[in-house]
Every structure is written in structure tokens, then in C-alpha cells.
């Protein structure tokens, strides 16, 4: 996850009426040390551990135990959405890449300023986006969660 970079982005745009949050969902890779949630207390405890580990500066908001918001927005493990005034979705990405989010945010801020005076009209577009993978960091995260998380992901479980 791009936690530090997303925190930095939040700091840079806070004075432009941009509100940035981390919405805490289910555990994507539950293991012995950070198990699946059976209560909001479980969710709160794991979110607190996450905040402590990464020093997250953005507000962390907890979804319901059943993941109402997460499921409505697509149930992906690390997506990012940008939503504008009136609740209109400006951007949705299946994965979080801080640089990509910043491009989209700058575009949204720019067109917000220009659309009235230049008479801009919206159109739909799609792009294929790319991100860097940090396999070592990902594997370290799985190890921290516990052997089960490693076995589940890499399919090394012994029957």
C-alpha cells in the first residue's frame, strides 16, 4: 500500500478543500496475528495496529462489520475513489497509486475552476494504468500477519 505517499498527498491538498481518509475494510489476508473480524472490536484493534505500524496521518474511518461501504464500492482490497461536491464520482481506481491519484485530483481541481467560465462539458474516458509492485514489502506484510497468510497467498499450505 502507498500509505506514506497518500498521507503526503493529503497534506499537500488539504488547503484546497480536499478531504482525504483511509476507509478500513476487512482483512484481505487474515492470519494468526491479524485475524478476520468477528466484531467491531476486532476491526478497531487491527485498524489501530495498522495506524501504529505505518504512522497513518489521515483519519481512519471504519466501515461496518459487514462491509456495507466496501461492498457497494466494489469490494477491492486497495482501491481509491475521488468524489466531488454533490457526491459525483470523479475518479475510481482498482488499485491505489499516489501519483495516479494526484494526476486525477489535479485534473478535477483544474476543471472545477474552468468548467463554468469556459463552458466545459463532460465526456466519458477510460485509461489503462500502471503501478510499481513491491513484492518484497508485500511478502513482509504477509509474514507479519502470520504463516497462514503466506500459505494462503502462495498456495504452499500442506494438506
Amino acid at each position: 500500500m502507498a500509505t506514506a505517499a497518500m498521507d503526503d498527498l493529503a497534506d499537500r491538498y488539504a488547503d484546497r478543500a480536499v478531504s482525504s481518509v483511509f476507509l478500513y475494510t476487512r482483512e484481505a489476508h487474515p492470519g494468526e496475528n491479524y485475524r478476520h473480524h468477528t466484531s467491531m472490536e476486532d476491526k478497531r484493534a487491527n485498524a489501530g495496529a495498522f495506524q501504529e505500524q505505518y504512522g497513518v496521518r489521515r483519519p481512519i474511518l471504519l466501515d461496518t462489520l459487514e462491509g456495507d461501504a466496501h461492498r457497494a464500492y466494489g469490494v477491492l482490497p486497495n482501491m481509491t475513489w475521488i468524489i466531488g461536491r454533490g457526491g459525483i464520482v470523479q475518479y475510481k481506481a482498482a488499485w491505489t497509486d499516489a501519483g495516479h491519484v494526484e494526476q486525477a485530483l489535479l485534473y478535477a481541481l483544474d476543471t472545477q475552476d474552468r468548467k463554468a467560465k469556459e463552458g466545459l462539458t463532460p465526456f466519458y474516458s477510460e485509461t489503462l494504468s500502471w503501478r510499481q509492485r513491491d513484492d518484497e514489502a508485500f511478502k513482509e506484510g504477509l509474514k507479519r500477519t502470520g504463516p497462514q497468510a503466506v500459505e494462503d497467498f502462495y498456495g504452499t499450505k500442506k494438506n
Binding site: V18, S19, V21, Y24, T25, M40, L76, I82, Y124, G155
Partner: protein
């Protein structure tokens, strides 16, 4: 709830939502509002309040 908060990660199952994501809540349409709980204060927060004064950047995720 058992299916949402699964006990074991299963790669083929978890790849399915990536395929359907393009069809979820299109850009240019309204995002649904949900109540959320602030980790630190314990207070309930309406998601729509995040975008009431400007843009909201919402990253979804978890520790694991």
C-alpha cells in the same frame, strides 16, 4: 458475514471483483453514502460529509 470476513484468502475468488469493478458506480454518477466510524473518536461520520465542501479522496484498505 462469514463470506465477507473470510478466514482464508483464496486468490481465484478474490480476483472476481477486479473483473466486475468497471461496472460498479460509474464516474459521473452519484456515490452512495454510508455511515462510518472514526477510529480515534469513536464518533459516527456520514461519508457524504467528506465531499460536502470539496473533493474527497477515499482510499479503501486494511492492515493485511
Amino acid at each position: 458475514m462469514a463470506a465477507y470476513n473470510y478466514t482464508e484468502f483464496d486468490l481465484p475468488t478474490e480476483l472476481v471483483p477486479f473483473e466486475s469493478f468497471p461496472n460498479y458506480i460509474n464516474v459521473g454518477t452519484r456515490g452512495p453514502n454510508f455511515p462510518l466510524q472514526d477510529l480515534h473518536t469513536g464518533e459516527m461520520v456520514e461519508m457524504k460529509n467528506l465531499w460536502s465542501k470539496g473533493f474527497a479522496v477515499i482510499e479503501f484498505g486494511s492492515f493485511t
